[in-house]
């Protein structure tokens, strides 16, 4: 039994190494194609043509005055800015209810050759500290016809 074991051993080790190598190669290949870069508008534009049509998470602020939302076609457009560069974003689906000028956002999607960023996902970024709502931003004030008027 000891002899058959010592004869088998190199093959077992070679087998394990081969399996681990193939598995590692698969992992590497999988990562290589699916890594999503997190970029600011300036970094995205600096990439030039290499920035087109690859998955990107674009982070910045909503540029004041650029938000357009058509609730019939569910088409939402706005610009993301980092203070230095702006990127136009187009997305479908409703914006978050409290979507406002100047708020931090991360949009996931691809930058097209037409220089419009096609968003497939939109996340709102919050600072962790608590800020009391400004006057007029309390839901009771913003939605007073609903909250006070319904009486339910």
């Amino acid at each position: 039994m000891t002899e058959s074991k010592s004869k088998r051993r190199p093959w077992v080790i070679a087998g394990v190494v081969a399996v681990v190598a193939v598995f590692g190669w698969l992992l590497y290949g999988g990562l290589d194609k699916n890594v999503v870069f997190f970029l600011t508008p300036q970094e995205l534009l600096a990439k030039g043509t290499a920035g087109y049509d690859v998955p990107v998470r674009l982070g910045g602020q909503v540029k004041p005055g650029t938000v357009k939302w058509d609730d019939k076609t569910l088409r939402l457009t706005f610009e993301v800015t980092d203070g230095k560069s702006d990127v136009a974003v187009q997305s479908s689906g409703a914006p978050p209810q409290m979507f406002r000028d100047g708020m931090g956002v991360v949009v996931e999607g691809r930058f097209g050759r037409d220089h419009v960023f096609n968003s497939t996902g939109l996340m709102v970024k919050h600072s962790n500290e608590y800020h009391p709502p400004k006057p007029g931003e309390k839901p009771q004030e913003m939605y007073k016809t609903l909250i006070k008027g319904s009486g339910s």
């Binding site: 990562l31 890594v35 609730d71 569910l74 409290m98 839901p139 609903l146 909250i147």
Partner: protein, 652 residues
């Protein structure tokens, strides 16, 4: 007052724990076994002291004692009592306190039950548990001190994180997760104890911890399912799993623990895989600590990541210490870790278990790689990246379908070696289950290869596992003339471990069907409608009856009332809402879900005009999603069958 009491309790517990850690090796080396009862007493005292601190914290929360820093951080006078109590685990410091409390409880229970066992295993296991306790005590007086002073005392606090107080599942998911996570410390402590005391070859550490490991695994399984359910009910995107780092953190130790439950049987039956099993147990424990690190250090951004601070370094140091010490111990014990058995044939149950372990471990490494890659990339290359869902899906689907197939093959094969005739008799009939599910999936419109394979192999495994029951029951009927019901009860009762396992398999298969169907056949539609207008999706029509709003003590709510239509008849109503918490800048979505046997109608309020004149509604039809929750329950039920004591009980 409360603050000082709790803080001092933790400080005193550190001294007690330190005494216990030192007393055990001293007692062993100098032969003064009279010291051991004192070391065990340290375990009980630690439980008492940490309980004092935890109860004091709950008391401070309930009485709104805002002079305690943690209460000032998560408390709020407007928060309902239940959510005030459960905010004990709603933020970093409290959750570390809860961890320490659960750990001290496990340690006290496991020592209480096993303290009379002769030998050195239990004392060393107790010392190991105390060592882990000491680490958490350090956190509680250092970077995660919940008992800081707040001065001047604020009149009110912001309340817990809105996402965590929006759903009742938050009262269930975290405690289950902690009980499961921390429960993995017990097999770890006994594995380390066995290596320290030189008792690895008896396999006693595994026998003693079998029920503990199973319980921890069942709790962790339930916690993962509850977490998915929470995500589904609260986040409003209609999904339950996004390969988010925190989800992965709960899943990683589950994978290695599942592997261990299987390979432990190979060790018990055939005396093999001793070294491998020790590594799995140590690895599972390390993954629970890594998971706590990932979710609690703020190193990944998500709803669970509470803070950025120095706490991450403490965790990294602890992980490094445990890893190095375990490696040294395993190396030192390698002579004792020889296999006493050997593989006789490729066609045997142990081979399938080995493959199961191989694929579960590969699965773990895949998820681990995807989870840690962003951290590594940022540390080395300074780039911010994330690993997308496509990576996880592409890499894990082949593994998952293979595991489903193995789940059908394993129960059918005997130990040692199967003859050709046996193989044919056992492995061919379940193909009927595979064929049936394949046809159903094709008719339903599935074309993706992995989706088809998942349905087919889940069908195969379901058939094979159910058939084991059928074969056993039929044999009992013929041999003892029992009715079907009696035969089933006695069959399972006579071999709880085995049939509990098959029941857990059936639960996993139900979860697999739920996930496969809901990700393959999900349909959705989003539209903006006015009151009185309707929205339709795959045969379901909803009419917006009205928009409404109301004030609640801790929040404002805006909702839509939708009528589920059957022609012109109203079958029922659904009320998706948005909850506005004063602490949060954006509302928490609260989708409405209408569950039926074959699937869920899931409705979320996406947006609305401030005056309520229209609303944007998203409707999703999610086939078989309830099967996931039900399957999770079946998994836990299977584990309970296996945990329940075997043999006749004369008392009770």
């Amino acid at each position: 007052m409360t603050r000082l009491l709790a803080h001092d309790a933790i400080l005193v517990s550190m001294a007690v724990v330190l005494f216990g850690i030192v007393a055990v090796p001293v007692a062993m080396r100098t032969g003064r076994r009279g010291l051991l009862p004192y070391a065990f007493a340290a375990v009980y005292t630690n439980f008492f002291l940490v309980s004092v601190a935890a109860v004091a914290m709950v008391y401070a929360l309930v009485t709104h004692d805002f002079s305690v820093s943690y209460v000032a951080q998560v408390g709020g006078r407007a928060t309902p009592l239940l959510f005030t109590v459960i905010s004990l685990w709603g933020a970093l410091e409290g959750s570390i306190l809860f961890w320490a409390w659960v750990l001290s409880m496990y340690a006290a229970a496991v020592v209480w039950i096993n303290s009379r066992r002769p030998g050195n295993l239990v004392p060393y296991a107790a010392a190991t548990l105390l060592f882990v306790s000491f680490f958490f005590a350090i956190l509680l007086v250092g970077p995660a001190d919940p008992f800081g002073v707040v001065s001047p005392v604020p009149p009110d606090g912001p309340g817990p994180n809105p996402l965590l107080q929006n759903h009742i599942l938050m009262a269930i998911h975290p405690p289950l997760l902690y009980l499961g996570y921390v429960g993995m410390s017990v097999p770890f402590a006994f594995a380390v104890g066995a290596m320290l005391s030189g008792e690895v070859e008896t396999d006693d550490w595994m026998r003693i911890t079998r029920r503990w490991t199973l319980s921890a695994w069942a709790l962790l399984s339930a916690a993962i399912i509850a977490g998915m359910w929470w995500s589904y009910e609260v986040l409003g995107w209609g999904g339950y799993w996004a390969w988010d780092p925190v989800e992965n953190a709960s899943f990683l130790p589950w994978l290695t623990a599942t592997a261990f439950l299987h390979s432990a049987m190979v060790q018990e039956r055939r005396g093999m895989l001793r070294l491998w099993n020790l590594n799995l147990v140590v690895g599972t424990f390390l993954l629970t600590i890594l998971g706590t690190f990932l979710t609690r250090s703020g190193i990944v951004s998500s709803v669970h990541a509470f803070t950025t601070g120095t706490i991450g370094y403490y965790f990294l140091a602890f992980i490094a210490i445990v890893m190095l010490a375990s490696l040294a111990l395993v190396a030192g014990n390698s002579e004792r870790l020889r296999s006493t058995g050997r593989f006789d044939s490729a066609a045997s149950r142990e081979t399938v278990f080995l493959l199961n372990n191989l694929f579960l471990t590969a699965f773990m490494f895949t998820v681990l790689t995807g989870t840690l890659f962003p951290l590594v990339a940022e540390a080395i290359k300074g780039v911010k990246v994330s690993v997308g869902e496509p990576f996880f899906n592409r890499m894990s689907l082949p593994i998952v379908v293979t595991l489903l197939f193995l789940m059908g093959v394993g129960p059918a094969l005997p130990w040692k070696a199967a003859s050709k005739a046996e193989l044919k008799a056992k492995l061919v009939p379940p193909a009927a289950g595979a064929g049936l599910m394949l046809v159903i999936a094709l008719v339903a419109g599935a074309r993706n290869v992995y989706a088809l394979l998942a349905f087919a192999f889940a069908g195969y495994a379901a058939f094979a596992n159910l058939r084991e029951y059928w074969i056993g029951m039929r044999a009992r009927r013929i041999a003892h003339g029992e009715g079907w019901g009696t035969a089933l009860v006695r069959l399972v009762g006579g071999n709880r471990h085995r049939y509990g396992g098959y029941t857990a398999h059936l639960g996993v298969i139900l979860v697999a069907f739920g996930i496969a169907a809901s990700s393959t056949f999900r349909t959705e539609y989003e539209a903006t409608i006015k009151p009185g207008e309707t929205i339709s999706l795959s045969g379901h029509t909803l009419r917006l009856k009205a928009m409404w709003g109301r004030e609640e003590p801790q929040r404002s709510v805006v909702g839509a009332t939708l009528e589920v239509m059957n022609g012109s008849m109203v079958k029922g109503t659904m009320e998706p809402r948005m909850n506005f918490y004063p602490m949060s800048q954006s509302p928490v979505p609260t989708p409405a879900v209408r569950s039926r046997f074959l699937g869920d109608l899931y409705v979320n309020l996406q947006a609305f005009r401030p005056d309520g004149s229209n609303a944007t509604i998203r409707v999703i039809y999610e086939p078989l999603v309830p099967w996931i929750w039900f399957g999770g329950g079946v998994v836990v039920f299977g584990a309970l069958i296996a945990i329940f004591p075997t043999g006749r009980r004369t008392d009770a």
